[in-house]
């Protein structure tokens, strides 16, 4: 390990742990609550241990894992100085999401790009998406994991050269999302699979056909449901963000519940200011760069397509979420990918990041094998 690499990692991880400890201790100092002190110690300690041990134990991509974990922990910052229980609950959600990340990293190592994989993952994905049409109380957040499974099936079919079945599968998922009224998810999914199709196939007629069918599907569902696919943005969002100012309010009663929205980004802005929350959200840029790098050096077409799909999904969600918070897009408020109080949503995003971490580990293993072959040849 070169000195420059270890110092870059050490600097980031050290700064993240230190910042987490400071942010959590300040409200504890004010409230004098023992639980807040315990929470500060537990979160900072867990963050430090996870950053040091988990990538080594599970062969995860250190950079991606560190950034994702820090973004999850920043959600806990937003819930302070409310009740310690609320922040602790967010911590537990982060732990559950971490388990989903490890599951994704493990799953990608055992998956092989075969028709059976495509059939099973495609079937499960479509089943989970159609659950909302059959069962009344079906949790909508399961759509995130369903789309991950559909993406796996899509990547497998593309890698095997079955473009038409891949397109039909993704259109089926798109239709199910539209019929359940998950219009924003449908738009993000359509953008993702069309761009992955373009990257893998490069065949203009195929891409145009996909765009045409997607457009027809959107139009058809809009006509059938007799409603617009998009809604007007919440007019109170921008004033709330402006009221927070650049440095935040540091008010004692800042909790997501008081703002009436599940957006942790909004709560983070109100508490710590636009500069802090904006810089935190900008951490998605190095995450995206790293994910693109992982996709570009993947050896097999399956891994490359899957990595690119996960990267596009994450980047588009982050962009749409930020724009929705500023009222730019005609959509309702969309929480940022890793800054959400919804456990299933957090787990599905971390599951996709786990797939990326696993592909990165596979790339490293392939490179090590090439180095071994080169050594044998000399």
């Amino acid at each position: 390990m070169s000195k420059s690499k270890s110092s870059a990692r050490f600097r980031f991880c050290g700064a993240a742990v230190l910042l987490a400890a400071l942010v959590l201790i300040v409200p504890a100092l004010q409230a004098g609550d023992q639980q807040l002190y315990l929470l500060a110690g537990a979160v900072a300690g867990a963050l430090a241990l996870s950053l040091m041990l988990l990538p080594r134990l599970f062969g995860l991509d250190r950079l991606l894992f560190s950034l994702a974990l820090y973004l999850c922990v920043s959600g806990i910052f937003a819930l302070l100085p409310g009740e310690a229980g609320t922040a602790a609950a967010q911590g537990l959600r982060c732990l559950a999401g971490l388990a989903a990340l490890l599951a994704g990293a493990t799953l990608i190592r055992v998956l092989s790009p075969s028709l059976i994989t495509a059939l099973i993952s495609g079937f499960l994905g479509l089943l989970m998406l159609s659950g909302g049409l059959i069962v009344p109380d079906w949790p909508p957040a399961l759509a995130g994991i369903a789309l991950c499974l559909l993406l796996i099936a899509f990547a497998v079919l593309l890698s095997l050269g079955n473009t038409i079945p891949a397109l039909l599968l993704s259109l089926a998922g798109l239709g199910l999302l539209l019929f359940q009224g998950m219009n924003l998810e449908a738009v993000l999914w359509s953008l993702t699979f069309v761009m992955v199709l373009w990257a893998c196939e490069g065949n203009l007629p195929t891409v145009l056909m996909a765009l045409l069918l997607t457009g027809l599907l959107f139009l058809g569902v809009s006509v059938l449901r007799e409603e617009s696919l998009f809604s007007s943005p919440d007019p109170t969002l921008l004033p709330e963000l402006s009221a927070a100012g650049l440095w935040g309010q540091f008010s004692d009663s800042q909790t997501p519940g008081s703002t009436g929205s599940p957006s942790l980004f909004l709560a983070l802005t109100q508490r710590y200011g636009l500069i802090f929350s904006g810089l935190t959200a900008l951490l998605s840029l190095p995450m995206t760069l790293r994910s693109v790098s992982i996709a570009s050096v993947a050896r097999s077409r399956f891994h490359a397509a899957l990595a690119m799909g996960c990267t596009l999904d994450f980047a588009l969600r982050m962009l749409a979420g930020l724009l929705s918070h500023f009222g730019v897009l005609p959509i309702s408020l969309l929480p940022l990918p890793l800054l959400t109080v919804d456990a299933m949503e957090l787990a599905s995003r971390l599951f996709a990041l786990g797939l990326l971490c696993g592909i990165s580990a596979r790339n490293e293993a392939d490179l090590a094998e090439d180095a071994h072959l080169a050594m044998l040849a000399t």
Binding site: L63, W247, Y272, G273, I275, F276, L367
Partner: protein, 280 residues
């Protein structure tokens, strides 16, 4: 804690947290940059990373002259389009001509697309014929359109079913059993077509003969230029075009081959290869 003290801490911390957030972002970008540098360094030290060998152009076109060689990735598409993994801009090569993938223990498996046809060691293969394409191994010749290519695998990938022949050896074409032609080993008596190709299990890199059986010289009318018409069907190319000269006659290619210490001037250097541009 007194309210005044807490107010001071809050005032300091709001700037301190923003500063830490900025430093985190800068450290993250610095980490990405250092990871990228490390990756480029590793790939520079492993120029063959992700590849299984190289394809040497024996005859091509004006855009792809003979003696050009390019690395073969483990998986990809061969065609005339620039977006393909192996770009062969020669007449008769479709935009996306075939898919290929490396299988350990088998070789480079080819899957021609649509109505595309290729010749693998003289055996015509197309999707419509239904016959499975024989995998390419070390020394295999691939005819795609007007381009004749030879696959050279890296020495550590010991997936060949050919013995490396001394000078003057003739290939033996086993009759009727669909096996690939092979060369007898040095000092070995002439073998009949019934014998299986020599396998070299457990062969180490040191024992692999360094000499390749020189691919049969291209007929004098090659390379095919754009003005010339290439065979209407790939099966028109006679199989004995790959046959080596009779024993006793040395291959002129061998005489002209310079020692390993001096690079062959006919071969283009690797750095030139990376600068090739098949722009239309």
């Amino acid at each position: 804690m007194p309210p005044e003290t807490y107010r001071t801490i809050v005032l300091v911390s709001r700037y301190l947290f923003a500063f830490f957030a900025l430093m985190l972002l800068l450290f993250a970008f610095s980490w990405v940059r250092s990871e990228g540098k490390k990756r480029r360094e590793r790939f520079r030290n492993l120029p063959g990373a992700g590849t299984v060998g190289e394809l040497l152009v024996l005859s091509g076109s004006e855009e792809l002259p003979a003696d050009t060689w390019f690395p073969v990735p483990r998986e990809g598409v061969l065609g005339s389009l620039r977006t393909c993994d192996l770009v062969v801009p020669c007449p008769g090569v479709e935009g996306r001509h075939l898919d290929f993938s490396w299988q350990d223990g088998v070789g480079l498996v080819l899957r021609p697309r649509g109505r595309c046809e290729v010749l693998v060691d003289g055996v015509p293969v197309s999707r419509r014929s239904g016959a499975e394409a024989p995998p390419l191994v070390h020394g295999s010749c691939l005819q795609v359109g007007s381009a004749l290519l030879r696959l050279q695998l890296f020495a550590a990938l010991n997936h060949t079913n050919r013995a490396f022949a001394p000078a003057g050896a003739e290939p033996v074409f086993p009759a009727g059993n669909g096996q690939q032609p092979f060369f007898p080993e040095a000092g070995q008596a002439a073998v009949t077509g019934d014998q299986l190709p020599l396998q070299m299990p457990g062969q180490t890199a040191a024992s692999i003969p360094t000499g390749l059986p020189p691919c049969p010289p291209v007929p004098e009318h090659a390379p095919v230029t754009e003005q010339e018409t290439f065979p209407a069907s790939l099966t028109d190319i006679p199989i004995n075009a790959y046959k080596r000269p009779p024993s006793g006659e040395t291959d002129p290619g061998l005489e002209n081959r310079k020692p390993e210490t001096q690079p062959d001037p006919r071969r283009r250097r690797r750095t030139e290869r990376w600068k090739e541009d098949f722009s239309e």
